[in-house]
Subunit: 411 residues, 2 copies
């Protein structure tokens, strides 16, 4: 299928020409799943090979100093911090998002010892709720996790709440919370905030310092394109972090890791949120992946994302009318993250059939077809081709015809 380029496409194509060239994208694939696993940036393979062969292979143990592996969690943390409005040296890269979430939770409960409620919502990513459940059960001192619906969060804030723990963008619908308003509302009742930025970092502007957010965590492998299971990040408000006695008090968070003292003394600042030895190869991939962002303004990405998502909604609703699809995402761009989801009873089968056509989105139970919008490498042409592909899948009920596999093309 040949998609004619509009003026707008030309404009976007120019803005994101370099970034699109920066990714390895398989031929014939339209990738609308960068919110699950970002694609491979071109520079990563060489940088990882250098880390393996020259640093590990050539320098051996000396690479901890000579290749400065030891500070990589802070260096990469600062690069991510600059994308999410964090103060310098307030973000480190370490562990998984789940573990980091529990670090922030334990810290928040410690800072609000008299309060027993952790407030979250049913739009949170489940692992965040699970990690809260595990911590509360272990503490066994009357804490409770209160889970309300996303629109009830503000009303549920009261002076029993130690911490409000939310994912800014709902992983299913893309519904966007207001970090600024909810942080202010939490602070007004004396609660702390923990923001999960898994679907925010690299997707939309985040202003942690401006919002006075207390803690934040997020993922390296979605919009930051750091590779499968890339290490996660954690932010702690600088004036709070030195008051935390970390639950996860590992040697890399010690004031003097190589003094090998028997007692834990936390490092100053965000370094105390480090725990064990960082996975250098995965961390190097993330570091290299961030090069794609050099010279890119997140506001430009956000504007393109909203425009492309609007286009996808329009195209799907126009082409696929009558098939029972129902928009799950907010229709207003500024209330959405960087994805579009539709309810569809046969969504699972349809997403599989669409994938066989070369259009990769994903499915989230019970009935959501989800499409990630990533302007760094997705433009109008891909959006239109994806909608056309979905139209074909629905019209021909391709999931009933497993042998009929054609591929959407962007030329």
């Amino acid at each position: 299928m040949v998609v004619p380029f509009s003026d707008k496409t030309q404009h976007e194509a120019k803005a994101f020409e370099r970034t699109k060239q920066s990714f390895c994208l398989p031929d014939g694939i339209i990738y609308l799943d960068g919110n699950s696993l970002g694609p491979l940036p071109k520079g990563v393979s060489e940088r990882v090979a250098t880390a393996v062969e020259e640093e590990w292979g050539g320098k051996l143990i000396r690479a901890w100093n000579e290749a400065d592996w030891i500070d990589l969690p802070t260096r990469v943390g600062n690069r991510i911090g600059a994308m999410i409005g964090a103060e310098p040296n307030a973000v480190v890269v370490a562990d998984s998002t789940s573990i980091n979430l529990q670090k922030a939770l334990a810290a928040a409960l410690q800072l609000r010892p008299e309060r027993k409620v952790l407030l979250s919502d049913s739009g949170n990513f489940p692992t965040d709720l699970y990690m809260a459940q595990g911590l509360i059960a272990a503490l066994g001192d009357g804490h409770q996790l209160k889970v309300v619906s996303p629109d009830e969060v503000e009303d549920a804030l009261d002076d029993s709440v130690a911490a409000l723990m939310l994912t800014e963008v709902d992983y299913r619908t893309g519904r966007l919370h207001s970090m600024k308003a909810l942080t202010a509302a939490a602070h007004a009742v004396g609660a702390l905030t923990i923001w999960d930025l898994a679907h925010s970092a690299g997707a939309l502007p985040v202003d942690l310092a401006g919002c006075k957010a207390d803690f934040a965590v997020g993922c390296g492998y979605k919009y930051l394109n750091g590779g499968p299971g890339a290490p996660a990040f954690i932010y702690g408000r600088p004036d709070l972090v030195d008051r935390i006695k970390p639950l996860q008090s590992g040697w890399m968070g010690h004031k003097a890791p190589f003094a090998f003292e028997l007692d834990y003394i936390p490092a100053e600042g965000a370094d105390r949120m480090r725990v064990g030895t960082p996975p250098i190869l995965s961390l190097t991939a993330l570091d290299a992946a961030l090069d794609v962002w050099d010279g890119i303004e997140i506001d430009t990405v956000r504007a393109a994302s909203i425009s492309l998502a609007d286009l996808l909604i329009d195209e799907i609703e126009r082409r696929c009318a009558g098939f029972g699809l129902r928009l799950a995402s907010p229709r207003e761009g500024d209330r959405r993250g960087s994805q579009v989801s539709f309810h569809f009873d046969e969504g699972y089968a349809a997403i599989q059939a669409l994938q066989a056509q070369g259009v990769i989105g994903d499915f989230r139970a019970p009935d959501l077809m989800r499409f990630g919008i990533t302007p760094l490498y997705i433009g109008e042409a891909e959006i239109i081709a994806a909608a056309a592909g979905l139209e074909t899948v629905l019209k021909d009920r391709l999931w009933d015809q497993p042998n009929l596999k054609t591929r959407a093309k962007v030329t």
Copy 2:
């Protein structure tokens, strides 16, 4: 320096000919620090490149199934499990050793709710003590960490002890605890055991099931050569693990991670000790590194290790007599792990000067020169050359002559 090959060297050279060829070892370097960071096995670079380019780059999100990333923590766990006497599916690879240690600690305290003492020793690696301190402080319910000297451990076991937490091999002196005897002694008073195998896995025979050990953790980047910050492993005794409600209750340890339920329900078996998304690139490096062990018996490695360590002690004591060195490791091979350490007042400077000669050992405060013995790629020739290098360093006080840099050679 040309070292003539003895009959014994010939024999060892044959046994480990293949394994030595399996590593990328820089020219002119004698590497006695594989107990800190194992060197690069030759197959790793290609396997990591395949994971980056073909799996991540080519398959994108589909690689979680098509390249079976999702089960990699279990597959690699089973490979390591086979080296440490674990039952099938009792080991998973996940997180760092520090985090895994805290998983085991939290589980042990849960299984012995009426007991308040965690017993450890001053020979434990500090991060293990730190993680215990962090957990105890967070629990805040009267637990205490009791740290005794290594030879007092058995006497300190009584019915107040919930768990005995030890590193089998002392990271400084190489002193080896008896896992079998101490596990039995702990069980005799109703305590559980947590073994840190950081300096054991790949260094000496370990028989977790035979010793009835309850939990174990260990490191992927030392004797397993998995690369800098390689993910760690955790073992849970199969009949205990299903009774644990994990503190670190992340989605990858959920019974149905992709059902995205709001409540945590643990997976059966060792999978419940998984937490977040695993760092696939680092994990792939570890997986590839384990290929070196195919066809190698750990008993053969152990015998060679003891013999080489004995030789190093003999050579250093003979060549360096009169310089004030004092053996810190047990003299009896079966009471040592796979390293040799010497006290020396100017140890730090001497290790630096030795490194300038191409012999890489390391230094541990306050005065220990430490040499890792790794028969997979170190033989008699290297041991003799290293001792000769140390002799030169000491005789010429090379650390006073920073411009005089020669290199030990093995021909």
